[in-house]
Homo-oligomer: 347 residues x 2
Amino acid sequence: MKAPSKQAFVPFVSVANMMKIVLHLGVERMMADLVQEIEDDFRRWGAFDKTPRVASHSDVGVIELMPTSDGETYGFKYVNGHPSNMKKGLQTVTAFGLLADVQTGYPILLSEMTILTALRTAATSAMAAKWLAPKGARVMALIGNGAQAEFQALAFKAICGIEEVRLFDIDPAATGKCVTNLQGRGITLTPCQSPQEAIEGAQIITTVTADKQYATILTDNMVGAGVHINGVGGDCPGKTELHRDILLRSSIFVEYPPQTRVEGEIQQLASDHPVTELWQVITGAVAGRTSSSQVTLFDSVGFAIEDFAALRYIHGKLAETGMFEQLDMIADPDEPRDLFGMILRSA
Amino acid sequence: MKAPSKQAFVPFVSVANMMKIVLHLGVERMMADLVQEIEDDFRRWGAFDKTPRVASHSDVGVIELMPTSDGETYGFKYVNGHPSNMKKGLQTVTAFGLLADVQTGYPILLSEMTILTALRTAATSAMAAKWLAPKGARVMALIGNGAQAEFQALAFKAICGIEEVRLFDIDPAATGKCVTNLQGRGITLTPCQSPQEAIEGAQIITTVTADKQYATILTDNMVGAGVHINGVGGDCPGKTELHRDILLRSSIFVEYPPQTRVEGEIQQLASDHPVTELWQVITGAVAGRTSSSQVTLFDSVGFAIEDFAALRYIHGKLAETGMFEQLDMIADPDEPRDLFGMILRSA
């Protein structure tokens, strides 16, 4: 059989290669790089095609497609969210993504994104906190110690200078796992017995729990003046983490309002409740934190431009790392109109 | 490094393996099988999540995501349409697709779909003609002899009993390619010098040209009473093949009106112009052809359920053919919350 043409091949970053890339570059350097890439793309917000993700809901979870384009490169991510997966020994969130050349429509990268989503979610959280958290924040409460927890801790260390992370999970085994994994990375790790204990002395509160239900991880009396809340776990209709009263006294920052109003904590509020788009803080068009007593909330649900930035970052590392395979994914006959003949000749 | 878990692997049908599958099963058998699968899914139309495809348009083409779900299985296709690609030696349409388990969100199949789309498009055309074309049709005009042409010819032979195909293309080399590729398959092949010549004596007229513009491949005076028109090439905004007058005297059948009104030939008509949904003809709820003088038009643009059916068909053939690879695409740590630890342990 004749070998496929060069156009037929799409560079593919498998899970094994993504792990190699993370170990090769280092988690904290990747966080810093990703914050840079995401900020760069948030600064040119107007250049992107934007649409709320296309979700297919079922009684146990959601499968979503998250496309965007900057006119030169097109990207999308496939991602699921199935809180019940954990009981089956599966990941709550798995993902993969693709970049393509807008001029030809041909894919230029296919990549695992379960790991890459964990990295970009934490990088986006830390990026938001860089602009919104009180100056000199050194202590973070980390409530929910699942698959996203270590990434959050390391992102906040690398980007915001967090020195102590106070950990709480309803399952102490999850906290123990975090402590083991984060040992020796220059973070003081303090396991706590309750959310109340975790937030003691914390200037930043990160909530990253996974139940698909209206939960109340934080109540109003737990949140003191001046803190920054990084709300990561509430990210689909019917799934929230914060009591509504907290939202009512917070300055709320979001990625893309048409999506966040459906999926984020603010689904609990009126559809015209004022929120600030994070990209406008980054461009300087709108102020972020304006006083030391203000409660700021990043109502994170994840947006396609973050995945786009992360995929472009990985694409840019292919030549340097060589950590990819070539996938025979695109039928590309020598004569483009001779698709049928290509099949015949392959015999 | 520890080997990835079984859940981490997604069966992947490469272009090379899809060609092997086509040669192993045979094109005509695949067409018959695909018509069966697509009809089965059209019969249970109400069971599917339906949404117009999510399109990202540029000045040179379009990139689309086409998701659907029947509540048990989720599927989507990535597909581009770039008419200018041919001049660059590239395919106008390339595609790949994925199936996932709705209960877990985990992918169960990744497949090339450039070839599979060509097969399912032709199968859908022939399926529509089976219900709509005049009885005893034996001659088909095939206008546009590009990448889709041979698939159309063989589908109409296998499903509708077409014995003669009259070929026309503005580029005679394309016609020559078709004649060469279809030699010896039991179809009388008649190259023609004009569209007028091609439609002489034809009971079915298939138009499958690729220019992204309002074109007029057929004018009103060319279409006699009683023919069935299979309009395949008009499939995005600004891209049509038939003169509006033809539409006005045809009974028009479509896949999914919210999509076809934007992308199909009927974008030339008022948004409330009556059309019939093909699935309703197949279930028997609505009549198809009601007289021998009626002009019927299948305004084909392609719909997600056809891709879903095609992907499920390929998925069902994996065990029989063994023609696939395993792709390490899903990060799946032994302890689902220990994604970070999996990376550490891979060192």
